[in-house]
């Protein structure tokens, strides 16, 4: 190799003597890229396999009976059954979770991000604990709900109990997502608002929040899609394995799609596993729609600075 080792021998023949063509392969680069692609492939393959399995398994059940018919405990009638009560239960719960967790979560985040003096120990303790809460297993929330909300407060095994517990479960996620969104609003916008004589609340409500809406909406919807798929806390909160009526109020008995799936899949008869697969597709479809809304909101309303 001659002196400028950056160039290939062929390039050195370039009359100008300046050669910028690639000299040699960089095996490390290639290897790293292949590793990254392999990781992505693993994640994607697992998801694709799961989707394919439930689609194949539940194919026969993917028709309107899924949401027009009630579940049944009778093997003889399972082929005509659906999961309407579970679907309605899930919709009840998720609407209530949204009503409870979003206002509390968003307002808490505004306090922590805009008002709290982070030099004070109690505010730092609060922050730390919210981070920790986000990592608590959901079954723990279920047990807490059973002890305090269902029994001590006497709300029983009802829709509202389930909604409160799931709200507590996703609250840290909503708070963290909202704080991230608020933090992404440049400080210069707040300063500009204050410099015009706006009050703190005016600055937050008219500048910071509108700019943070896409981030808040995205985080909130993702938190709700987490809540929709939760089965563990509902198991201890007395969601019944199947009911043949729809919940008619917040104090009604209920079941939810994850619980229904769990109950059906545990039974040996083919009719039940098929219906479970159909219900999984239904649940996935709901989650997918919610996530699409989140992506749409983010792309449509995101502010670029």
């Amino acid at each position: 190799m001659s002196a400028p080792s950056l160039t290939t021998p062929r390039a050195q023949q370039n009359p100008s003597g300046v050669a910028l063509t690639q000299s040699r392969r960089r095996p490390g680069e290639t290897l790293f890229r292949i590793t990254l692609q392999a990781c992505l492939l693993i994640a994607f393959a697992a998801l694709a396999a799961l989707l394919l399995w439930v689609l194949v398994k539940g194919w026969n059940r993917l028709d309107s009976r899924l949401w027009t018919e009630m579940p049944t405990g009778l093997v003889s009638r399972i082929n005509g059954a659906g999961v309407q009560s579970a679907l309605v239960g899930t919709l009840w719960i998720i609407s209530l979770v949204a009503l409870i967790s979003l206002p509390i979560g968003i307002l808490s985040a505004i306090y922590l991000e805009e008002y709290a003096d982070t030099t004070k120990w109690y505010n730092r303790l609060l922050e730390l604990n919210i981070q920790n809460l986000a990592g608590v297993p959901s079954i723990i929330f279920g047990i807490l709900g059973l002890g305090i909300i269902a029994r001590a407060l006497g709300l029983g095994f009802t829709v509202i109990t389930a909604a409160i517990v799931l709200s507590l479960l996703v609250l840290p996620v909503v708070i963290i997502a909202t704080r991230e969104a608020l933090r992404a609003v440049p400080q210069s916008i707040r300063q500009a608002s204050y410099a015009l004589g706006a009050t703190k609340w005016q600055t937050i409500s008219r500048q910071v929040l509108p700019s943070a809406v896409p981030g808040i909406a995205t985080g909130s919807i993702l938190a709700l899609s987490r809540a929709i798929g939760e089965a563990a806390p509902l198991i201890v909160l007395g969601a019944v394995t199947f009911i043949t009526f729809n919940p008619d109020g917040i104090d009604s008995a209920y079941t939810a799609l994850p619980i229904q799936i769990y109950a059906f899949i545990g039974r040996s008869q083919a009719g039940y596993t098929e219906l479970a697969a159909g219900a999984i597709v239904l649940l996935l479809a709901i989650v997918l729609v919610m996530n699409s809304v989140a992506i749409f909101v983010r792309n449509r309303f995101e502010k670029r600075w």
Binding site: D117, T118, T119, P186, S188, I189, R190, Q191, A192, S193, Y194, A195, L196, G197, A198, T199, Q202, R206, Q207, S211, K303, R304, W305
Partner: protein, 310 residues
């Protein structure tokens, strides 16, 4: 002029709010970006330097961030309808001092101001003073243009709206503010489009227009041209000159030529290291711009302006 002018209930006292015809766009005598080219280049050349009454006065102002004293014992007057420049090397506390003039330092956790800053004789740091009201009267333009991610129109209308100003005709007010900021002709056909679609220089003039819209007395500018190209800088400088007829302006700048070009008075700050090896910003010299740049009293000022230091 007064018929389309909106009135603000709180601004009717002795504060001069009368404007000359608003269409007086940049007819500054002998506008030249390079001051050394013709004559002195100082605003003094057009007789506009006057020892007007101080609109604001700093007396022994020190600004602390926690225990750190960022600026020590500054005293200087801000004269009405004059442009006062603050110059000095980085870290000399000029921006900090500027921010103490409209209580923007309040927004920094742990920041505190001692001494007094008076505005029309009232101490801005007295207990019963509302910082919101202070900032409405003493507006600020920042280093980096920071328009709101809203339409041009809404950027201007925001201030009057949040202040609850009784505005008979918001369209007029927006036009008036944009006209005074020499931006109207460029944006009159796209008032509803996003402010972020404007160029950097236009954005900065929009920020000035937005500040004017709340009808302040004093406009503070924190290195308003440092993110702009020379042409945009020239426009802002012309604008400052025009605005100084109606407003009192304080500008922080890194650019000594800019201070020499636009200001009537100049304060030179520097960073001093004390016995404990801690740096503090300190006012070295305050005088008329022409004097400060041609015949400074202090050796440190002379070293700085001749480029031997900083």
């Amino acid at each position: 002029m007064t018929d389309d002018k909106t009135s603000h209930p709180q601004s009717s006292e002795g504060i001069s709010m009368n404007q000359p015809t608003a269409t007086s766009t940049s007819s500054r005598p002998g506008v030249n970006i390079a001051p050394q080219a013709t004559g002195s280049g100082f605003p003094a050349a057009d007789d506009s330097v006057r020892e007007t009454a101080p609109m604001m006065e700093l007396r022994d102002v020190s600004v602390y961030y926690g225990d750190y004293e960022a600026v020590r014992g500054t005293s200087l007057p801000i004269r009405q309808n004059q442009i006062t420049a603050m110059i000095g090397p980085s870290g000399c506390g000029k921006s900090t001092t500027l921010r103490s003039l409209n209580r923007m330092n309040d927004l920094i956790v742990g920041a505190r101001v001692t001494g007094s800053v008076t505005y029309h004789g009232q101490n801005l740091y007295a207990k019963d003073v509302d910082p919101i009201e202070v900032r409405r009267r003493i507006g600020m333009v920042f280093q980096k243009p920071n328009p709101f991610p809203k339409s041009i129109y809404d950027n201007i209308a925001y201030g009057p709206r949040v202040n609850g100003m009784k505005v008979a005709n918001m369209d007029h007010l927006v036009e008036e503010a944009l006209t005074r900021a020499a931006l109207w002709d460029e944006v009159k056909d796209k008032l509803k489009s996003s402010a972020l679609s404007l160029s950097g220089g236009q954005q900065q003039r929009l920020c000035i227009a937005r500040t004017i819209a709340v009808k302040p007395d004093v406009i503070l500018m924190d290195e308003p041209c440092s993110a702009l190209d020379p042409i945009a800088t020239g426009k802002i400088e012309d604008l400052m000159h025009t605005l100084s007829r109606e407003y009192t302006i304080v500008i922080v700048t890194h650019n000594m030529q800019q201070a020499a070009r636009v200001s009537h008075y100049t304060a030179f700050f520097t960073a001093e290291v004390d016995e404990k090896q801690v740096r503090h910003g300190r006012l070295v010299e305050f005088s008329g711009t022409q004097k400060l740049f041609t015949n400074p009293d202090d050796k440190r000022t002379e070293d700085y302006i001749t480029g031997r230091f900083g």
